[in-house]
């Protein structure tokens, strides 16, 4: 029979998710996918919040989750708007092309 999930197993799961998210940020060459990877990270964090909530028997974590989701929504909206604007200018989605914001 499978072992009962402990708090640790939840935390480890979220750690894995977070790592995957970061990896995505570095591996992919498509801004949209990179944004998606960011979402993965956010969800990893959310999972932590809820797990700890369950562990300590609170609701604050869930409220944090709501805030995270809201912020994610804002981030997605702005991010995608930027993506569209960029695409209009350079006809590409590769982040490494957009390096004009420097000296």
């Amino acid at each position: 029979m499978l072992p009962e999930p402990t708090l640790n197993s939840y935390l480890m799961l979220s750690a894995v998710l977070f790592a995957i998210g970061t990896a995505g940020v570095f591996l992919r060459r498509n801004i949209i996918t990179i944004l998606l990877s960011v979402e993965v990270m956010l969800n990893a964090v959310n999972l932590t919040f809820i797990a700890v909530d369950r562990f300590r028997g609170l609701v604050d974590g869930q409220i944090m989750v709501f805030f995270v989701i809201t912020v994610a929504a804002a981030e997605a909206a702005v991010g995608l708007a930027i993506v569209i604007a960029l695409f209009r200018h350079k006809e590409t989605l590769t982040p490494d092309v957009f390096t004009s914001l420097k000296w």
Partner: protein
């Protein structure tokens, strides 16, 4: 509803300042006058309620606190107003005379453009608001708001014709000189707070009253003395006493009603009021009181002598104001606080009257201010003449007009408090006052028209085209003061006649009501009669042993002195003008000295202004600013630029690269903390 008293003029200021341009003269003038009148009405009502009050251990006061203005640590300053006998008297004077002068101005300033007109009245209302805050404030900081505010307004109004260089110069001078005084005032406040931990007048008074009261120097009173001296410095600035009086004569560049309101009736008396307000403090610092008295009397004499030879009608009045203020300080100095305030109150009437009268003259002569170019106006300007004459008699101190009672009160208090020398000097000053005032009267109104006298047009040119009515003076027809001005003059004249009767001394069978009325304001609440100022007490004592006879005698004597002065003036300036010239010839040196106002301005310029200029241009500007500060700043800039030229290479502009570096940091830090 005390707050309404200052608030109404302030509202008037706001309206006139905001939309005044678009209002017609009638509207903005009526508005300004109206708010003043309304404020006077409210003030009158409040005073009525105050008088109606049952005194709490001999003190009546209406105190209203609106909100906590400053609150830091032990410093708690509510924005609170207190109406007690002293401030109520002041409030009535300010609003009442203020209203009259506003009324007067509506006619006097009528040649201005609508915009200028509105600007003038907005300033005037603003001044009134600040002055009322000054007198109503229940603590030093609140008073200080008004103190600074009136300074600002006086600056604005002196420089009202800012296109005229001399006017703006005068404005600046007034402002700067006042700053010196205000500096002292601030330091005084701080010292008091440091010593007594409060800035509320009442609390200060009651705390000071508890100190043992002996003239000997001891710990508590050194602070007190220092603080009071600093405050007095502030007073000298605001009320044009030696050594800071220099700005007041120049302030005559402003419109005449302004001179009447600010530089005769109200603002310049702020210093006196301040001392009266803190009577308890000052009376516990005898040393300061001595200084005050001496400064006062010296100023009185000094200014009187200058006034004797001045030729500009307004400057003469200005110097007489200075000397009258000197009287008030003398009174304060000898502990006759009530007397001082009494004189302040009467002086407000007749001095305002005189200024307005002179204004009427100037108005009639289209801006002529030099008395050598006047004369014989008696027939042409009857109203102005009679009112002006009343004012002159009043200030000369001829019974039963207002000036007599107050001045005599002061003289008596001075004498009875064993300041015989001061008394003597004061008497001389009184003599001078009578003389030069009547000189003014004669030269202006009697004799026959003179104009084109040497220097006359020089003076004229010097003042550019000062007051309204430009163009060449047309002497063909002289119109007397128009309606509003006439009303103001007449009312003030009546005031100058009757104002004194509130303070008829006991000897003349009058029960010096005003003193009785004001007296509580000079005591500390709760601190009982024994805490009443010692000097006052001694004064009373001598009054007892000196006896009524002596007082009456002195009274007669001073009246005779005044009469003598008048006589002299009559002889010299009316009957045989040539005597005057001869005297001027004989005592050429003295005459020049007086005419040059003792060259005080030049003295200050040489001793203070020039050195400061030297230091600031030579050391501070070239050395510190250009060399040190700029050098440092530029150096920093250069260094930064140099480094950034190198460092900017790190900035690839690629998001991913940034993320990478950032993430390396994360991993490293986490790793480090796990490692330990």
């Amino acid at each position: 509803m005390l707050y309404l008293i200052p608030l109404l003029p302030f509202v008037g200021f706001l309206v006139n300042a905001a939309i005044g341009k678009r209002l017609s003269k009638t509207v903005s003038g009526l508005l300004a006058t109206g708010v003043m009148a309304a404020s006077f009405g409210i003030a009158a009502m409040s005073v009525w309620t105050l008088v109606g009050q049952a005194p709490v251990d001999g003190v009546r006061a209406i105190e209203q606190s609106y909100y906590t203005w400053l609150s830091s640590g032990s410093l708690q300053i509510p924005l609170a107003f207190r109406l007690d006998p002293l401030s109520s008297l002041m409030v009535l004077v300010i609003t009442g005379i203020g209203t009259l002068i506003h009324l007067y101005s509506t006619a006097y300033m009528h040649d201005e453009t609508d915009a200028e007109y509105a600007r003038y009245f907005s300033y005037l209302n603003l001044f009134a608001a600040f002055m009322l805050v000054l007198v109503l404030g229940s603590s030093f900081p609140v008073m200080f708001i008004g103190w600074e505010g009136v300074g600002l307004c006086s600056y604005l109004l002196i420089g009202f014709w800012f296109k005229k260089p001399s006017a703006s110069e005068a404005g600046k001078k007034a402002f700067i000189v006042n700053r010196i005084g205000d500096f002292g005032f601030i330091l005084g406040m701080l010292a008091l707070f440091w010593a007594f931990g409060t800035l509320d007048f009442q609390e200060l008074a009651s705390k000071v009253a508890l100190l043992p009261n002996d003239p000997a120097m001891w710990a508590g009173s050194t602070v007190l003395t220092a603080a009071t001296l600093l405050l007095f410095l502030g007073a000298t600035g605001k009320s044009a006493q030696l050594p800071l009086y220099v700005w007041l004569p120049d302030a005559m560049e402003g419109p005449t009603p302004v001179s009447a309101l600010i530089h005769a009736a109200t603002m310049v008396t702020a210093g006196v009021y301040m001392i009266g307000r803190n009577a308890v403090l000052f009376s516990h610092a005898p040393f300061t009181l001595e200084i005050v008295a001496i400064v006062g009397v010296v100023t009185a004499l000094f200014a009187g002598t200058i006034g004797l030879v001045q030729n500009d009608i307004k400057r003469v009045l200005a110097y007489s104001t200075v000397s009258q203020l000197g009287y008030m300080f003398l009174a304060m100095g000898v502990g006759a606080f009530a007397g001082g305030i009494f004189h302040l109150y009467t002086h407000a009437f007749f001095k305002a009257l005189l200024f307005l009268g002179s204004g009427a003259v100037i108005h009639a002569l289209h801006g002529e201010q030099d008395i050598r170019n006047m004369g014989g106006l008696r027939k042409h300007l009857p109203i102005t003449f009679y009112t002006f004459a009343i004012g002159t008699i009043a200030i000369a101190g001829i019974p039963p007009l207002a000036g007599f009672f107050s001045k005599d009160e002061i003289l008596w208090k001075t004498y009875s408090s064993d300041h015989k020398v001061l008394w003597a000097v004061a008497v001389v000053a009184a003599f001078l006052t009578a003389t030069y005032m009547f000189r003014l009267l004669y030269l202006t109104f009697f004799g026959d028209r003179r104009h084109g006298v040497a220097g006359g047009h020089g003076a004229h040119a010097a003042h550019g085209t000062p007051d309204p009515g430009h163009g060449t003076p047309d002497h063909a027809h002289l119109h007397d003061a128009p309606g509003p001005m006439a009303i103001a003059l007449i009312v003030l004249a009546i005031g100058s006649i009757l104002a004194g009767f509130v303070g008829v001394p006991h000897v003349l069978g009058g029960g010096n009501q005003i003193e009785a009325f004001l007296e509580p304001s000079f005591r500390a609440i709760g601190a009982v009669a024994e805490a009443a100022p010692a000097v006052e007490a001694t004064a009373e004592a001598t009054a007892e042993h000196g006896g009524a006879g002596l007082e009456f005698g002195l009274m007669l004597f001073s009246t005779l002195v005044a009469a003598a002065g008048i006589g002299l003036a009559t002889v010299v300036f009316l009957r045989r003008p040539q005597i005057a010239d001869r005297m001027a010839g004989q005592f050429a040196g003295v005459h020049r000295l007086l005419l040059g106002k003792y060259y005080v301005d030049e003295l200050y310029d040489a001793t203070i202004v020039q050195p400061i200029k030297k230091v600031s241009s030579g050391l501070l500007w070239r050395g510190v600013d250009a060399g040190l500060i700029d050098g440092t700043v530029n150096g920093v800039g250069l260094v930064v630029r140099g480094w950034s030229a190198v460092l900017r290479r790190l900035q690839t502009g690629s998001v991913r690269a940034y993320a990478m570096s950032f993430f390396v940091g994360v991993v490293t830090i986490v790793g480090y903390y796990l490692w330990r």
